[in-house]
Symmetry: C2
Subunit: 342 residues, 2 copies
């Protein structure tokens, strides 16, 4: 498929440029709708007029609609993005990187969005939308219990979940683990609530204080409210989570100096589900928490990992030495390049 486009380009040059330009326009509209010509032009570094011609064309073919408050993506526009994604990935060479990363990390499949979320904050949002697309295609129909984690990346995913996801599905969201010391805005409970809201689904919170001893967790496990949620987690068939850089996570969760020192000593590079691992994928420290562990992913129908930014490359690369080979990864070019260039 890769070579094919070379010839298309030779026969109708600049068709691909135009296609890519309009595709990125569609993406940007989806991300910021409702939005006006001038904002779009600025964001995409195009002139107002070219944006306008493109919009007029897309209006003709019904992919966008113009309202007094700005441009909106139509349902057809949504579908177009979904259908054009692999094609555009081909054109930009991302497709090649996707297959490379897939084999390199042993993934079920892989989606790479362009950019680097360490540099531009909107890339995280694009990853969120990619996650939404993926879920729409991969989430089994019917009832599902979705275990999710917290974090800024997961919050971005939650922001973009659309109601169309719930068309043939009844979704229940549940935090994969108890409160992990994150700030309220990005903790799993908040993410759950937001996802449930967006998809007209249900959610169940898991309010847990910081745990310091195994004793406390054993007694807490008896609490009816908590036991019920833990039971739900045990029945989750879908997991969406992120992978974090070890030190960044330790700092964000304000872990004690003692624990941090342990992490350093044991060369922890990444974290997922509260488990810290070194570059060989060996778990070197577990945050004492209730809920899902990496090993529970085996029994899931669908596992989606979302992580981007070159700073997380080492973490992600190490992480995928652990989980079953059925995980989907959604990442960005910054991270992908960092892993592949080695």
């Amino acid at each position: 498929m890769d070579l094919e486009w070379k010839w298309v380009n030779a026969v109708v040059p600049k068709m691909t440029q135009k296609l890519l330009r309009r595709y990125s326009l569609l993406l940007m509209i989806r991300q910021t709708q409702p939005v006006g010509r001038r904002s779009l032009a600025e964001r995409l570094a195009l002139t107002e007029r070219t944006v306008r011609t493109d919009l007029d064309s897309l209006l003709d073919t019904g992919l966008v609609s113009m309202q007094t408050n700005g441009v909106w993506l139509t349902d057809d526009g949504q579908t177009a993005i979904l259908n054009l994604q692999p094609l555009v990935a081909d054109l930009t060479g991302l497709r090649k990187k996707e297959t490379q990363l897939k084999t390199r990390l042993g993934l079920k499949d892989c989606l790479i969005v362009s950019g680097d979320s360490d540099d531009r904050s909107d890339v995280k949002q694009t990853m969120g939308e990619a996650a939404n697309d993926l879920l729409r295609q991969q989430l089994p129909a019917g009832e599902s219990v979705v275990a999710v984690m917290g974090g800024t990346t997961m919050a971005a995913v939650a922001e973009t979940l659309s109601a169309t996801l719930a068309d043939n599905r009844q979704l229940t969201f549940v935090p994969a683990r108890g409160g992990m010391g994150e700030s309220p805005k990005i903790q799993a409970n908040t993410v759950c609530a937001r996802m449930a809201e967006a998809t007209n689904g249900h959610f169940q919170a898991l309010y847990l204080p910081e745990l310091s001893s195994k004793l406390a967790s054993t007694s807490l496990r008896q609490e009816p409210a908590i036991a019920q949620t833990l039971d739900l987690i045990d029945h989750a068939n879908v997991a969406i989570h992120c992978v974090g850089d070890a030190m960044a996570m330790a700092k964000r969760r304000q872990m004690s100096a003692e624990v941090t020192a342990t992490l350093v000593n044991r060369h922890a590079v990444g974290e997922a589900f509260g488990d810290f691992f070194d570059q060989n994928g060996q778990i070197v420290y577990r945050v004492p928490k209730l809920g899902l562990s990496i090993s529970d992913l085996d029994r899931m129908d669908l596992v989606v990992a979302v992580a981007g930014g070159h700073s997380k490359a080492a973490a992600v690369e190490a992480y995928f030495k652990i989980p079953p080979a059925k995980t989907f990864l959604i990442t960005d070019e910054g991270l992908a390049d960092m892993i592949l260039k080695k």
Copy 2:
């Protein structure tokens, strides 16, 4: 893949038209090179200027070259045609018909060119070029012995064989069967000679008179020159042949009224390798000839059948109830439609 193009078209309308126009331009150049703008314009029902703009573009990208005697296809142009073929087949809907026909007839694969060779004589030539493309991709490297049949279709294939076929191959052509009463221009010996010439290969003729008795064939088989050729035929690993309408073939070969009556009585619809069969693929009459039979195809590495025109539909459909499922078919839209519409 089929749906994808709908969206490409929605995002960049009329690019596909242009792509198709230029592709057909390339095809026409290949067919008639060296050729001038005006001839091309006339043949493709375009204006001179349009052809010129397209040619200029193709010149820029190096797919064609302009000489004082006309336009030539470059090597890149050749490659472009080859690589764009499946894509264009998608766009025109031919691809869908190809897969349909493939499953319907139980083929290894199938190439359909647009048009109907019963209506336009140049369609046969296009099929020949398609055959050339297919051989270039499928013919095993190294030495091959290619058994070919006669007929106008095979003659068209022979016309278009190109030297590039022989890049990594040494080819020997041999008539699959003895002279079948065809006129010299289209008989297998001539076709062989022409193919060998085009590919810098060898060929071995098989000159046989009309045979009327099995006795004669047995004695002829002893003749050293004939025995040698027959031995070569036995070692053929590739076969290229056509499928004919039963009555048309009987007439062309000036078969006796008696035999023709037999064919009618037994409801023969088609012919291949001198074997006539009815609509169920049952062989109802064998021309007493020396050489290859349909059953010998089993041991071949590659079998290509070439037949087009709606009038041959019944014959082709019946034929593919006989041979192994590894045959490639090259046909035209007229024939494909006739089979598929039922």
